[in-house]
């Protein structure tokens, strides 16, 4: 590989995408107006669960400004298939109901679409939608996932005779022996509540008919996948469907989806022969863009008296909502490769259970499974440290996988690529003086000021991913996860890079240009990066899971290398040198040792497009190469974070005083962009930890249906973040890079919670479930101080709600639920699910390696993979 001579990689270059965005010239979906375009508004269910008795559209149809109104019955023939869920783990059946863009028969959550009104004006279609009269026969709503699993619970889907969607498990090492060997076992129940992606740009879609073809403009993270899925749903070949993601105003996973509205605008455009636009209101974002998290985690950690970990067991109940969206059932499991964190744990046993409730589906939101995993391992490590009366950082250090132990294969058979966990923690403590903090903390407490510090030493898995590990014969996703790039050199020597990723704020126009420029010997200013259009460039899998740089960027590097190789052949022929004697120096291919003999890319491009006689006939004209790159492994970024929080014990208000992070995502391509990703990621976690929660009440009504009640943090709530990095290259790709888009979000919630618990330690508070709102903090203090008897608990909304982790679930935030044990294995442990509901009996298999088939290849022979289960 030759990348010398430019050195754009590693520089904090200003972004190429910014000029249009700071001047109002960017083009998001709602900015697009097409000739003859109509607008659509959707009639949505106000009921959480009901039968549709009748729909009267006559009032809407009577309006002059309405072109058409359609119900689910009207469009039944327009869809060849419903919205799919693409996880089909070998041997496990996942209850997956039909999922049509407009509902027929029953509605299953507030916001479920039942009809669509199309008209000439943005405002009038909303008026008309209010004239559609739907008669509903309400049915009992299921809101609490634990209650939903109880016998006799109302059912979201009667045909499955259970609210359990599936069970899945994975085991490595001997969990029973590990727990038996432990001197101390701690158990902890942690609730990781439901949150929203909440990009500031709501979703939007425009369907446009063109002859027998259709174009979809959509605010999506996955244009190619969307085309693949939608062409199937509509029964049209992919060459007749173009999907364009123009500028996309953030996604955070919420736009890693194929949504009903995308299919609808295409069908409407086709039927009406005119472009149709639908723009999501913020309320629709809260009701009908997928949510994230919503798990209840029962964690057991075993350790020797000296802190050496012996076993880790996680039983995870995931509230999936009413329907299976693209990856709904899989997201809770996605964190499994790093369940166990950055620690050497000889036995790990994981069990997952999905549950239907009358809410919108959960799916990927920034971090997607890994924030939950980090949250429970880090906070349970703190619980264990307290039990052992050991410094929590010392407990971590004692169990860290050592720098020299990489590649390290975990008990689950996952191979961590590289790491230096002691190194990032050491660096963190260079920035954060614990001793100084402790003495300051003591002094402040004397003044009645409660400050605490919390730490998180985190590792995540990203760079999705090796297709054989996550594809149909691996974990069972009916997809692959390679990435593509095409590098085209124009006759005058500038370049266009086409990527299959689909950035929406990450800055890949810039970082990919830097990568290509170094390999092409040209200025990144002369490299244009094209993405988000299925008509341009090869198929690609999109942007999510912190994969774009480590998979898509590597594809760009490889395509540019191929171009360089061909350029060398052309140059060598013209300079009468051997290609292997050429090197790229200062933007020129030159003969090693003869700097005067060389050609620029512009000169070579000219020769490639208008070949001189000297060029041998066996060199094809043109200068354009494509690379498809499927990584051999995931990548595993890591780091150490410290948070200092102050709690006003009178009001319960939490303020963050200081936030310090040291992260390692391999060598930096553009350090400025890395810092930006870390800042945003931490802020997202601060939102979850302190402010944000999607709340449904006991009737399944969405309480947080706008930004009035779903509280995104503002600049005033986010502290200045002190960021630093170490650079440990990954051996997986030639750039050595790992992902960073989700790192801050994955890392930060446990540090924040731990800081609040540390602050309140003197008051006897040992646990509060997120979000750490003033009310929850006050309740925790009162309960720790022995006040507050029984009776219904107040909530943020001032009434008892059925959202789990709060009042009605009987699992209030301040009720400690750990059942620490001195004598070993799993006392107080609930029995694993027995699969009696007809799903895979993951819990009934023996721990260890007999539970499932040895996966071919990726996980290694002695490892287990998704349990075959005992499905009848």
């Amino acid at each position: 590989m030759s990348t010398d001579g430019n050195g754009y990689v590693g520089r904090s270059m200003k972004r190429k995408e910014d000029p249009r965005m700071i001047t109002g010239e960017a083009r998001y979906v709602d900015d697009i107006t097409l000739p003859g375009m109509l607008h659509a508004a959707i009639v949505r269910s106000p009921e959480a669960h009901a039968a549709i008795v009748s729909i009267d559209v006559s009032g809407a149809e009577a309006r002059d400004d309405v072109v058409a109104v359609f119900t689910g019955e009207d469009l039944a023939e327009s869809f060849k298939g419903g919205l799919p869920m693409v996880w089909d783990p070998p041997g496990v059946d996942i209850n997956t109901p039909d999922h049509w863009p407009l509902k027929r028969g029953e509605v299953k959550h507030v916001g479920d679409p039942v009809a669509v009104v199309v008209g000439t004006d943005r405002y009038s279609v909303v008026d008309a939608a209010e004239r559609v009269v739907v008669d509903y026969d309400p049915k009992p709503a299921v809101v609490d996932p634990e209650k939903a699993l109880e016998d006799g619970s109302p059912l979201v889907w009667e045909q499955f005779r259970t609210n359990r969607t599936h069970e899945w498990g994975l085991s490595g090492g001997d969990i029973e022996a590990g727990l038996a060997e432990a001197d101390v076992v701690v158990e902890r129940r942690l609730v990781n509540h439901r949150i929203a992606g909440a990009p500031i740009e709501p979703r939007g879609s425009i369907g446009e008919p063109r002859g027998d073809s259709l174009t979809l403009y959509s605010s999506t993270q996955i244009p190619h996948i969307a085309r693949y899925v939608l062409s199937g749903m509509l029964g049209i070949p992919e060459d007749k469907l173009r999907v364009v993601a123009p500028d996309v105003g953030g996604g955070f996973g919420s736009k890693l989806q194929v949504y009903a509205e995308e299919a609808l605008v295409l069908v409407l455009a086709k039927r009406l022969g005119r472009p149709v636009k639908w723009t999501e209101s913020r309320t629709e974002h809260m009701t009908n863009s997928h949510h994230g998290r919503d798990q209840i985690n029962h964690i057991t950690l075993g350790a020797k008296r000296d802190g050496t970990l012996t076993a880790c067991r996680a039983k995870i109940i995931a509230d999936l909502g009413a329907y299976q969206q693209l990856l709904t059932a899989f997201i809770p499991e996605l964190g499994f490769p790093v369940m166990g964190g950055c620690y050497k744990i000889p036995a790990i046993d994981l069990h997952f259970e999905g549950v239907f409730t009358n809410k919108f589906a959960t799916d990927a939101v920034r971090g997607a499974g890994r924030p939950e995993a980090t949250y429970w391992i880090e906070l349970t490590m703190d619980v264990l440290a307290r039990k052992l009366d050991m410094d929590p950082l010392e407990l971590r250090r004692r169990n860290f996988i050592g720098k020299d132990e990489f590649p390290y294969t975990t008990a689950l058979g996952i191979t961590y690529d590289s790491g230096d966990y002691q190194g990032t923690l050491d660096r963190l403590l260079e920035h954060f003086d614990r001793d100084a903090f402790r003495s300051e903390q003591d002094q402040l407490r004397e003044q009645g000021i409660y400050r605490g510090v919390g730490f998180s030493t985190w590792v995540e898995v990203c760079g999705l991913g090796p297709s054989r590990a996550v594809g149909p014969q691996g974990v069972g996703l009916q997809a692959a996860f390679w990435e593509s790039a095409m590098v085209r050199i124009h006759p005058s020597g500038s370049a266009t890079v086409f990527t299959g990723t689909s950035p929406h704020g990450q800055g890949l126009d810039t970082s990919f240009a830097q990568i290509a420029a170094d390999r092409l010997g040209i200025d990144p200013e002369n490299v244009d990066v094209i993405h988000g259009d299925t008509d341009q460039g090869p198929f690609g899998w999109g942007t999510y899971g912190s994969r774009s740089l480590s998979v898509g960027g590597e594809a760009v590097a490889r395509a540019a290398e191929k171009v360089q190789e061909k350029a060398k052949r052309i140059c060598a022929a013209l300079l009468e040198a051997a290609p292997e004697d050429l090197e790229l120096v200062d933007g020129k291919l030159q003969v090693r040792g003869s700097p005067d003999k060389g050609m620029t890319m512009a000169e070579i491009a000219g020769a490639a497009h208008i070949p001189p006689q000297e060029l041998p006939a066996d060199i094809e004209p043109g200068l354009e190469e494509t690379a498809f790159y499927d990584p051999e492994n995931f990548v595993f970024p890591f780091g150490a974070h410290a948070c200092v929080a102050e709690v006003d014990v009178e009001t319960g208000k939490v303020s963050l005083v200081r936030y310090v992070s040291v992260d390692d995502c391999g060598p930096a391509v553009n350090p400025m962009l890395i810092d930006g990703q870390i800042h945003g990621g931490i802020a997202h976690a601060i939102g979850q930890a302190l402010y944000e929660q999607v709340v449904y009440d006991a009737d399944g009504q969405l309480v947080t249906s706008s930004f009035v009640d779903y509280a995104l943090p503002t600049a005033a709530e986010i502290p200045h973040m002190e960021t630093d990095r170490t650079e440990t290259p990954s051996p997986v790709n030639s750039l050595g890079v790992k992902g960073v888009g989700e790192a801050g979000t994955i890392a930060a919630t446990p540090a924040i919670t731990a800081a609040v618990l540390d602050a309140l330690g003197p008051l006897g508070v040992t646990w509060i479930d997120m979000p750490l709102t003033p009310m929850r903090v006050r309740q925790a203090i009162e309960e720790a101080q022995g006040g507050e008897g029984g009776g219904p608990r107040a909530t943020e909304q001032g009434r008892e709600v059925g959202e789990h982790g709060q009042g009605a679930a009987g699992s209030g935030p301040a009720r400690p639920t750990d059942a620490d044990s001195e004598q070993g294995p799993g006392s107080g442990q609930a029995a694993p699910g027995d699969g009696g509901a007809g799903q895979g009996a993951a819990g009934s298999r023996p721990a260890g390696s007999e539970g499932g088939d040895a996966a071919e290849g990726f996980f290694g022979g002695s490892r287990t993979r998704p349990d075959k289960g005992g499905a009848p």
């Binding site: 910014d18 109002g24 960017a26 500031i200 955070f252 706008s706």
Partner: protein, 159 residues
Amino acid sequence: MSDAVGVRVTVNGEAREALVEPRLLLVHFLRDHLGLTGTHVGCDTTNCGACTVHLDGEAVKSCTVLAVQAGGSEVTTIEGMGSESDLHPLQEAFWSEHGLQCGFCTPGMIMAAADLLARNPDPSEEEVRHGLEGNLCRCTGYQNIVKAVMAAAGSGVAR
């Protein structure tokens, strides 16, 4: 739209005139009638500030102002702040300091920041953070937005 009313507004220095529904929001007048799509809609409830413009020199959320209320007034949108070849110092600072990622909140954020600096040309970091409380960003964690506004203040924004 039999009840349409006439509205005359000066937008980015140019006199504009249209017949509109009385209920038409200023943001939709700018976007749909005048094609000035740099002003965005993010929340519908006056929380996010993506629609922030200047109305007679003061920052307002244009999703909470009727077009007819702007009648006779001067409106400045992001398009009126500067162009790619002639950037406003705040635009320049947002670019240099990586004060944007997806760019969707950026026009509103710049308009709010311009108003903040007009009222307080030399703000502390704390004052910037509180001054921008009405504008939400999901990408940046605000750190580089604050940095950009401080940098623009340092360079003297008035021009």
